[in-house]
């Protein structure tokens, strides 16, 4: 009989349940000075949430270090294996957008743990929140590191080199800012628990951090899956934190009306933002056209509809929470029948010059795949992409201003994605001002949910929309060349655009400021507000009808 090392070194230890119980007992109720309440909520939490993970920092830190070692080892191996020689540039270009956005929502999630830590009674879940805080710090800086790694090793570093500056200025990253700010601003439970943990982390990280890495690998990018699947491995902890706190909130029927409001708002806005960005990147940022792989619509059905809606949202009904099934079905219809992702991709390409990454034209293989996965696609979008290819040469009219029949879309005041499903455009007044919305839920979000009162109930903690929410208003009346220069989206020679409507790096093919000068940006909302009521109605009716794209 042979000895095992464990049998020699084994020592009586403290059971993990006992260890976590003692750690939860570190907290106390202050009696000399009341703990400050920094971030308000309209929810009432009377039941102490329990930590489902029962992990302590002693085991957490080595586990995370080990995960890191694997990530950084894999990045080194990718360079030794000359990954960038085979990586598809179409894919990496879109990473300039994605990786400009994602570190801010991640670090916002870390910050939001401060808001939840103070609200949850007892200290049981505080360890869970602590680990999530450090996890999110991990995610933000590991993603910044990945982006730096792309910048140092990928053929075209332009766009990566200005990344955080671009994040603050770009017309596309604005939706990522809405996403990240929504984690940390306004009612603390609405933002940090429902929007972040219950919806974004439980539902949409699957498309963000699981589906997207698979597509990266298909394009020869092994770095993104390495980093993001490691990131995703932390998410189960966050989902557990969120569910535990949700169960404490559910316990009090007074909270049910607010839960209905917030789950509705958060689901719809996560759908609008994440599906716009990630749907576009997965479908349009790939060169891989394997017809056996799942389309974004199929992925959505698996991750969001089956895994989240049916197994997470629906069971909440038994606790008395009204779930808006119609919203989920509408989101599904928008993705499958109404072309939500395709129309967002069309928008990104329409404004290619305002980007800080390059978008190349689609080719016949792409057309074939889209038509296979989304029958009727070519009829609706084929002419657009044919035009895009034709107008990708410098000296052409930028497609935005060409006579294609494309009407630059209004922006949704709530989720900041353009109102691309045009027949769903809603227009309403709030406090005497006119606003545009991508759908009825977005109108409701601004007018009813983000208000000091909800269905007769005072909601003094609810946030408000603020700032210069529509990017187009910043540059209304500006020449395109001046706007690009103002944003800093120009290469080191002071004239060549970072964005290009193709992937050629031959200088003769690259657009400069001079190529786009002479075109003026117009903010649709400014125009709409300036119209007489009759003209406005006419404009809205025309907009809702949509328009066919003609070949130029």
């Amino acid at each position: 009989m042979s000895l095992s090392l464990t049998s020699i070194t084994q020592q009586k230890g403290m059971p993990i349940a006992e260890a976590t119980r003692r750690i939860a007992d570190l907290g106390w109720t202050p009696s000399y000075v009341k703990e400050a309440m920094a971030f308000p909520t309209d929810y009432k939490i009377s039941r102490q949430p329990k930590d489902p993970m029962k992990q302590v920092l002693r085991s957490y830190f080595p586990m995370q270090e080990e995960k890191d070692n694997r990530v950084y080892g894999a990045l080194d191996a990718a360079l030794r294996g000359d990954m960038f020689r085979n990586v598809d540039q179409r894919w990496v270009e879109w990473m300039k957008l994605f990786l400009a956005i994602i570190p801010f929502p991640e670090i916002s999630a870390a910050r939001s743990m401060a808001m939840l830590g103070r609200l949850a009674p007892g200290d049981d879940l505080r360890t869970g929140f602590t680990m999530q805080m450090v996890d999110e710090f991990r995610h933000s800086t590991i993603q910044m590191n990945l982006k730096k790694w792309y910048m140092e090793n990928y053929i075209d570093p332009a766009g990566f080199d200005i990344t955080e500056a671009a994040f603050g200025k770009c017309y596309a990253t604005t939706i990522g800012r809405q996403f990240g700010e929504a984690f940390i601003t306004g009612d603390a439970i609405t933002s940090a628990n429902i929007y972040l943990q219950v919806v974004a982390e439980t539902a949409f990280t699957n498309t963000l951090f699981v589906a997207m890495p698979s597509e990266a690998a298909r394009n020869g990018d092994y770095a993104l899956p390495t980093v993001f699947l490691s990131v995703q491995s932390d998410e189960s902890r966050h989902i557990g934190n969120g569910h535990s706190l949700l169960m404490s909130i559910l316990n009090n029927p007074d909270n049910h009306l607010l839960l209905e409001r917030d789950i509705r708002y958060a689901f719809w806005q996560n759908h609008a933002i994440v599906d716009a960005a990630i749907g576009t990147i997965i479908e349009y940022g790939t060169r891989n056209r394997d017809k056996k792989k799942e389309s974004y619509a199929e992925l959505w059905h698996r991750w969001i509809y089956e895994d989240y809606y049916r197994t997470y949202m629906l069971p909440l009904e038994k606790y008395g929470i009204k779930i808006h099934h119609d919203d989920v079905h509408q989101a599904w219809e928008d993705i499958t029948k109404n072309g939500y992702v395709h129309k967002v991709a069309q928008f990104f390409s329409a404004g290619w010059w305002a980007n800080f990454w390059r978008i190349d034209p689609l080719d016949e293989r792409d057309f074939d795949w889209f038509e296979y996965k989304y029958p009727g696609w070519y009829n609706e979008y084929g002419a657009w992409w044919e035009n895009y290819r034709k107008l990708s040469k410098p000296g052409s009219v930028p497609i935005t201003f060409a006579d294609t029949g494309y009407v630059y879309p209004h922006r949704c005041w709530s989720n900041l994605v353009p109102c691309v499903i045009r027949d769903q455009l809603k227009v309403d007044e709030v406090d005497g001002q006119l606003y545009t919305y991508g759908s009825e839920v977005d109108r409701w979000t601004h007018k009813e949910a983000f208000s000091g009162e909800y269905k007769g109930r005072a909601t003094p903690a609810m946030g408000r929309f603020s700032g210069r929410r529509q990017w187009e208003e910043l540059y209304d009346g500006w020449d395109v060349a001046d706007a690009i220069k103002d944003m800093g989206f120009v290469r080191a020679d002071g004239k060549t655009l970072i964005a290009q409507p193709h992937l050629s790096l031959e200088e003769k093919d690259m657009w400069t400021l001079d190529h786009v000068r002479g075109n003026t940006i117009k903010a649709p909302i400014t125009t709409l507000r300036s119209l007489s009521p009759e003209d406005r109605e006419k404009h809205i009716a025309e907009y809702r009808k949509g328009s066919a794209i003609r070949l130029v």
Partner: protein, 359 residues
């Protein structure tokens, strides 16, 4: 390899250096000024991730709190700065080196505990000392926890990523330390008959010795000014209470009570504090030397020093009876306190403040 193959590969390769074109060599983040000649890795992964309307956030913050506060506000501290973005954490921590360091520490502590227990060390601790660990190290762990909780809240409120991440890592260190002590006491308690792991909390809540310490940390937890919390913790409470207990008491007295384990467990907190103190001092040195608000800031810090230094000094004096408890008395409270008073004077001197009054 023939020439044609080379050209084809070159045409499709996405590797750096394959072609020369405008910005093909722009391989550094170019939107911030590094503190030194070249940006450090920490700066690259930290600076400007939290945006600022005065830098690149062209649309400003797009959600606000109901009271009108934006997502981040300069008004969340009474300290002012002409340039909040100057500060860089001295310890340069980002996720990778944070996990490496924390992991090394918990590994070291686990080894100390396992090896000490294997050798039967806890059963040889002086009996009087065992009671001290149970009651007073047990009480002290709540102080560490309180700091961790206060800093966890604070890391939501700083105006830059650099400040908030320094607060976050500080919180992470303190919460780990609180757990380290909790688990340590629980584990040695397995080897010591009659050891009561819950006694520490009772002492924390009720024992006169700890009440001024509790009052001090609850006062810190009672403010929403994150920089007031950071200053109070690392400039006042840590040297006069935390370090006094960890270093001036545990580390100096334990060996004489047959205890080689506890100082090793607690020593990690000393090294953590050195790093967090360096970050804190750097931030406040920057702020008192601010070209616009330096004098105003200095007056505020002086006021905080009076408030929190006073609370911490009172807490320190209240701990004095602890030095009479061990069976073997090889260190005196007066000497330990004097060392810590010199420590806080060194810190305040570095920041440019008038020393803490002794009464």
């Amino acid at each position: 390899m023939n020439m044609q193959a080379t050209i084809e590969e070159e045409a499709v390769s996405g590797a750096a250096g394959t072609k020369t074109f405008p910005s093909s060599d722009s391989r550094k983040y170019n939107y911030f000024e590094p503190k030194g000649r070249k940006a450090t890795h920490y700066e690259d992964v930290t600076v400007d991730v939290q945006p600022d309307p005065e830098r690149y956030l062209a649309q400003n913050w797009i959600i606000s709190f109901a009271n009108g506060d934006p997502t981040y506000s300069k008004d969340w501290t009474c300290i002012k700065s002409a340039n909040w973005h100057l500060f860089r954490a001295i310890d340069q921590e980002w996720e990778r080196n944070h996990y490496q360091r924390q992991s090394t520490i918990v590994g070291m502590i686990e080894n100390v505990i396992q090896n000490g227990r294997r050798s039967g060390a806890p059963s040889r601790f002086d009996k009087q000392w065992v009671g001290i660990l149970q009651d007073h190290l047990g009480a002290y762990k709540h102080f560490e926890y309180g700091i961790g909780v206060a800093l966890m809240n604070a890391q939501r409120r700083g105006y830059t990523q650099m400040i908030n991440n320094a607060l976050l890592t500080n919180s992470s260190y303190k919460l780990r330390m609180a757990q380290d002590i909790t688990l340590y006491l629980g584990e040695i308690g397995l080897d010591i008959p009659g050891f009561d792991p819950s006694a520490g909390k009772k002492h924390w809540l009720e024992d006169e010795i700890w009440q001024d310490t509790r009052r001090a940390i609850e006062t810190v937890m009672g403010t929403n000014d994150h920089l007031e919390q950071y200053f109070a913790i690392n400039v006042c409470l840590e040297p006069l209470v935390g370090e006094l207990f960890r270093n001036g008491y545990i580390a100096q007295l334990a060996a004489a009570q047959n205890d080689f384990m506890t100082p090793s467990v607690v020593s990690a907190g000393e090294a953590d504090y050195d790093r967090n103190l360096a970050n804190t001092a750097e931030l406040f040195i920057t702020l008192v030397n601010d070209p616009t608000y330096g004098a105003e800031n200095k007056a505020i810090l002086q006021d905080w020093l009076k408030t929190y230094g006073g609370l911490a000094l009172s807490a320190a004096h209240n701990l004095e009876p602890l030095w009479s408890l061990p069976a073997v008395k090889i260190a005196q409270f007066a000497g330990a306190l004097q060392a810590q008073l010199e420590r806080i004077d060194t810190i305040t001197n570095a920041i440019g403040l008038t020393p803490l009054a002794r009464h």
